[in-house]
């Protein structure tokens, strides 16, 4: 079975400081991994994805994530938080094109001015 664990339900950072949202996955095979963001009253939007190419993946809005197989992790980072980054972030795993995406429970990011 495949699953993801988001280690923090809520992260709070000051504007201009680094962001780290942690995600660990469980999969018997080489997974595809994603981060999605959900702003209030908006649809989920893809931030970035890993599909067995480069292990450091760059996404939109300055976010990036590194796939570490030895640690089964796919943490999301950003060097400098902006107020507009405040949202819910979901780590997502998929085994194949015919299996559905499995979402983590989400991490709510708050950015303090």
């Amino acid at each position: 079975a495949q699953s993801v664990t988001q280690l923090d339900s809520h992260v709070s950072v000051s504007e201009g400081t680094p962001v780290l949202l942690r995600c660990n996955y469980s999969s018997s095979y080489s997974p595809s991994l994603f981060w999605y963001v959900q702003h209030p009253n908006k649809g989920l939007q893809l931030l970035l994805k890993y599909t067995s190419a480069a292990t450091l993946v760059k996404g939109i809005n300055g976010f990036e994530a590194e796939f570490k197989k030895s640690e089964t992790s796919f943490h999301l980072t950003k060097p400098s938080a902006h107020m507009s980054d405040a949202a819910e972030y979901f780590c997502v795993v998929s085994l194949s094109g015919n299996t559905p995406l499995v979402f983590g429970k989400g991490t709510r990011l708050s950015v303090i001015a």
Partner: protein
């Protein structure tokens, strides 16, 4: 171009009633997914269509839930004899192919409240 459209955006119903939720995917997308998101949780998979057929309905919680996509475009999620536990945001997403390497495009969801 238009994104994934879901109607209604909000639905309040009474326990035991029948509900239909509609999803209009992005034009040309062959794959369509339904997810359910309860308060404080991540989206949970319900059913996946490839074209007109349900390729995977393993996430439907019981036989009160049913979904159709008769012409391979618009989909309707149907819930019979609604229960209070069915209250959630129902999300629809579409994409060109399988979900593994393709990006899923989500609608804003239909919030269902069962009183």
């Amino acid at each position: 171009g238009a994104g994934v459209s879901q109607t209604p955006s909000n639905k309040v119903t009474e326990k035991g009633k029948y509900v239909e939720l509609r999803c209009d995917p992005i034009s040309g997308h062959t794959a369509l997914y339904w997810y359910r998101q309860s308060l404080g949780q991540g989206p949970e998979f319900l059913i996946y269509f490839q074209g007109t057929g349900a390729a995977d309905d393993s996430g439907l919680p019981n036989d009160r839930f049913f979904a159709v996509r008769p012409e391979g475009s618009v989909s309707t999620l149907k819930i019979q004899r609604t229960e209070r536990g069915d209250s959630a945001v129902y999300l629809c997403a579409s994409t060109y192919g399988g979900g593994r390497t393709g990006e899923l495009f989500f609608g804003e969801g239909s919030r269902l409240t069962v009183l």
